[in-house]
Amino acid sequence: MTAIKIERAAAPVWMRFLIPVVAILVTFVLTSFLIIWAGANPLEAYHYFLIAPLSNRVSALEVLVKSTPLLLTGTAVAFAFSAGYWNIGAEGQLYAGAIAAAWLGPLLGEVPPVIAILVMLVGGFGAGVLWALGPALLKVKLAIDEVVTTLLLNSVIVFLVSYLLNGPWRDPISMWPQSPEIAPNAMLPKLVPYSRLHLGFVVAVLGILFLWFVLSRTALGLKMRAVGLGREAARFAGVKVDQTMLTAALVSGGIAGLAGVTEVAGIHFHLIEAISPGYGYTGIIIATLGGLNAFGVGLAALFIGLISTGAQTVSRALGVPVYLGDVVQATLLLVTLAMFLLLNYRIRFSSD
C-alpha cells in the first residue's frame, strides 16, 4: 500500500526565486475563468494587462506614476514587517501625510521651491510618524495587538478627512469637498514634460534604497531582522526588542506618510476624500510579494502599478469591469502566500 505523507521540510533555495513567476502563472490560470465569465478572451485581456501599457511612452510613464505611492507604501510595510511589527495602518498613515501636505501646501507661497518641498516631505513624514505612534506605544508598553489598532485607525482618519473636507477646508469657491489648492512652489516638479510623472517617483526610489541600506548595512537593520525572525533569541543576545520595534513602526509610518505627500503635491494639488484607493493595503501585498526585500518590493510595486494601469485599458478595450485588476492583485497575493507556506512542506510517497 502506498501512503502519502506530508512532512515539514524546507525547499531548496532556488525554488524561492521561482515563486513570483509561478505565482503569476497560477494567478492567470485562476483568474482566466472570471475573465471568460465576463465575456472576454483571457489571452487578449492579459495582453492589455501586461503588454499594452508598456507599448507606448505615455502609458509606460503612467505605470511609473501609479507605482510611486505603491513603492512608498510597500517600503513602509516592508520596513515594519521586517521587525515583526505588523503595520496594517499604512493607509491611515498615508492619509496623515496627505493632511499635513494639504495643510502646509497653501502656506508655502512665499518660500523657495526647494525649501517648500522639503517642508512638505518632512511634514508628511512627521504626520505619518504621529499617526503610527499610538498603536506602536500600545504594542510595546501594553502588548496590545498592532494589527487591530493600526487597522481600526485607518477608518478613523478617513472620517477625519471627510470632516475636514466637508467642514473647515471645504473649497469656498466651488463648494466641492476638497481642500484649497497648494501653492505652486510646493508642487512636486514634473520629471518629464507633458506627463504626470513627478519628483515623487524619485522620492519613492530613494525610499527603496533607504530600505535596502537600513536592512543590510546598518546595526538597526540587523537588529530589526533579528527581532522579526526570532524575538526571544534577539532578546537573549541583548537586542532591545521594544525599542527596535518602536523605531521600525514609526519609520514605517513616516514613509507611508510620504506617499500621502506625493499624491497631494504631485498629482492632485489638494486633498480629496478618495486620495488613496487603498494604496496602504496594496502596500501589504507588495511587501509580501517582494519577500520584505528592497529589490523585491521595488519589482512588486512596479508590477502592481503595471496591472492597475492595465486594468483601465482592459476595461476600456474589452468592456470588462475595472475591478478585474483588483481581483488579479488579490488572487496574486493569496497564491503567493500559499506558495510561501507550501514551500515548507514536501509530500512523500512511501509504501507500508
Binding site: L222, R225, G230, F236, A237, G238
Partner: protein, 503 residues
C-alpha cells in the same frame, strides 16, 4: 487479570532509542508508578499506549485482548484516559460543557441535562467539582480534577496521569491522592508517571523504573525503599571526559544571594537561592527538570527579572541587568534551548555578532568584511561545520551548540553560565562541549553548570549543588557525592549530609 499489558514496545526518534523492548503490566485496580529521570522514556511509553505515538515494534493487550491503538480515539474506546501536564480544557466553557465536549450525541445540547449528568457522575465517582463553574475561574488543581472527570465520563477504566503533581501546590497534591485512592477502590487502574520518590511511595502499589528507555525493574512498594528506588533510577557507571588535576578554587567571581523569582504564572520558581562560584571552579547544579533551573539560568542571562536577591560578578552588581550589561560584565551564556539563543533565519556570521554589534560598525554602517572574518575565525577555532552565510537553522544540533559556544566563549568571559549544554547532542559533540567547559575552568573562569544529566554533573563539577522545588537543598564537594545520595536529594527526600559549605 491485567488491565494493560505492553509487550516489547520499541520506539525510536532518529538516533535516539526512546523505548527499548519495554514490557509493562498494569493490574486491575492498582496504582502503578512509572518512575524515571527525564528522558528515561516514561512519557513516550504512555503516549504510545494512548495512541499519540506509534510504536516501531511491540504489542498492547487490553483486558487480555490485543488492542489496535492508532489514535487517542481508539484508546478512549478501549477505556483508556490520559491527563497530561498541559490541560486540554476550553477556559470560557463550564465544567459540564468541557466534560461532554466531543462526547455528545445528536444535534441539540440541553445545558440543564448535561449539568445534571456531569454533577451525578462527579458525585458518584467522588471527584469534587462544581459542574456549573466556568473553567477559567478554577484553580490548577480543580482543572486537573475536571480533566480526570472528563476521562472517567468517557468510561475510562485505565487512567494515565503524566506528572500530575508537577503543576500542583502541596495541599492540592493531598486532594489528588485522596481522589485517586477513592477511584482505585472503585476499581479504576491508574498509571502514575513521576520522578518524585516520596509521592510514589505514598500513593502507588507497584513501581516500574525506567532508565535510558529500558525497564530496570518492577517492584512492590512493600518490598522497596526510597534509596533502593533512587539507585535504580540514577545508578550507573559514570563515563566521559574527566577533570585533569585538582586545583583550589580562587576567590568567588559569581555571587548569588537569596535570589527569588516568579515563573510565567506568577508562582515562586526560585525561593532564596544562594550560590558562589570561584575562579577556576565548576559548580554543577543537579536536579530534575522543572525545579527552577530554567528560571535560574534566565535570571543570570538577563532575560528574567528577579523578585528578590542579588547577583554580582566580581565587583559588578548585575541584579536585574539587561543581557547587554551582563555580557559586557564578562558573562558568557549558553542558553537552555539552543533555538532561543540563535535566530534561525539569520546567518551564522550575523548570529555571531549579535551580542556585540557595536564592535562591528565602521563609519556608521555594518562592516560586512570584518563580520565575515570574525565568523571565519570562530568557525575554524570551534570546528563548526558551516559557512558564514549559512542560515543558523540549517546547522545540526552539535554545530548550533558550537556556534553558541563560539559566541559565548570567544571573549574569554570571567563567568560562564552553561544551561543543559549537551542536551540532545551526540557523543562527539557532547565530549567537545564538556572539553570546552573544562578549558574555561582551566583558564580561571567561574563556570555554573546547570544540567539534568547526573553523569555530566559528576564528571565536570568541583562542587555539586542540588536544586529541588526552587531551593538549593545542599552543596557538596564532588568527591563526597555519591549517586544514591544525589538521587534522594533530587527527589526531595533528603537534605545534604556531611560537610555542606552552603552559607
Amino acid at each position: 487479570m491485567s488491565a494493560i499489558q505492553m509487550r516489547g514496545i520499541t520506539k525510536r526518534f532518529g538516533p535516539v532509542l526512546a523505548n527499548d523492548h519495554i514490557n509493562f503490566d498494569l493490574e486491575q485496580g492498582e496504582i502503578h508508578a512509572l518512575l524515571g529521570e527525564n528522558g528515561a522514556g516514561k512519557t513516550t511509553l504512555m503516549r504510545i499506549l494512548y495512541g499519540l505515538y506509534h510504536a516501531d515494534a511491540g504489542e498492547v493487550f487490553v483486558n487480555g485482548e490485543k488492542g489496535h491503538i492508532t489514535s487517542p480515539r481508539d484508546a478512549i474506546r478501549l477505556g483508556i484516559g490520559m491527563v497530561t501536564q498541559h490541560f486540554t480544557l476550553v477556559p470560557p466553557l463550564t465544567v459540564a460543557e468541557n466534560v461532554v465536549l466531543g462526547y455528545t450525541d445528536g444535534f441539540r445540547l440541553r445545558p440543564q441535562e448535561i449539568q445534571r449528568q456531569v454533577g451525578k457522575a462527579a458525585a458518584g465517582l467522588g471527584v469534587e467539582v462544581d459542574p456549573t463553574a466556568i473553567v477559567r475561574h478554577l484553580s490548577v488543581g480543580e482543572r486537573q480534577r475536571v480533566e480526570i472527570l472528563k476521562a472517567l465520563y468517557r468510561e475510562a477504566r485505565v487512567l494515565i496521569l503524566d506528572e500530575p503533581t508537577a503543576v500542583l501546590v502541596p495541599q492540592e497534591v493531598g486532594v489528588l491522592f485522596e481522589t485517586l485512592e477513592r477511584l482505585r477502590q472503585g476499581g479504576l487502574s491508574v498509571i502514575f508517571i513521576s520522578h518524585k520518590l516520596n509521592e510514589v511511595m505514598t500513593v502507588c502499589d507497584r513501581i516500574t523504573v525506567l532508565r535510558d528507555g529500558r525497564v530496570v525493574g518492577t517492584v512492590n512498594k512493600a518490598d522497596t525503599s526510597q534509596s533502593a528506588l533512587a539507585r535504580m533510577m540514577v545508578g550507573r557507571e559514570t563515563f566521559g571526559v574527566s577533570r585533569e588535576g585538582e586545583q583550589a578554587p580562587g576567590s568567588p567571581l559569581l555571587r548569588i544571594r537569596s535570589l527569588s523569582v516568579a515563573d510565567d504564572q506568577g508562582l515562586p520558581a526560585l525561593k532564596g537561592v544562594s550560590l558562589e562560584v570561584g575562579a577556576g571552579e565548576i559548580l554543577g547544579v543537579a536536579g530534575v527538570s522543572g525545579n527552577g533551573q530554567t528560571e535560574l539560568s534566565r535570571v543570570l542571562a538577563g532575560t528574567l527579572k528577579p523578585t528578590e536577591g542579588q547577583v554580582s560578578v566580581g565587583q559588578d552588581d548585575l541584579t536585574g541587568a539587561e543581557p547587554t550589561r551582563v555580557t559586557a560584565a564578562g558573562v558568557g551564556r549558553i542558553p537552555e534551548d539552543r533555538h532561543e539563543g540563535l535566530v534561525g533565519e539569520l546567518t551564522v556570521a550575523e548570529n555571531l555578532v549579535l551580542e556585540h554589534l557595536g564592535d562591528f560598525i565602521t563609519a556608521g554602517t555594518l562592516d560586512h568584511r570584518r563580520i565575515r572574518q570574525h565568523a571565519e575565525r570562530l568557525i575554524a577555532e570551534y570546528q563548526i561545520k558551516a559557512s558564514p552565510t549559512d542560515r543558523a537553522r540549517t546547522l545540526s544540533g552539535g554545530n548550533m551548540q558550537k556556534l553558541i559556544l563560539a559566541r559565548a566563549l570567544s571573549r574569554e568571559p570571567r563567568v560562564v553560565i552553561a544551561s543543559q549544554p549537551t542536551r540532545g547532542l551526540d557523543v562527539g559533540a557532547t565530549e567537545y562541549v564538556r572539553g570546552k567547559l573544562l578549558e574555561q575552568r582551566g583558564r580561571g573562569a567561574a563556570v555554573l553548570l546547570l544540567s539534568e544529566d547526573l553523569d555530566e554533573v559528576l564528571a565536570l563539577s568541583d562542587r555539586i549543588a542540588v536544586i529541588y522545588e526552587g531551593r538549593i537543598v545542599g552543596v557538596l564537594p564532588c568527591a563526597e557525592a555519591d549517586v544514591e545520595q544525589l538521587g534522594l536529594m533530587m527527589s526531595g527526600v533528603r537534605e545534604a549530609t556531611g560537610d555542606s559549605d552552603q552559607d
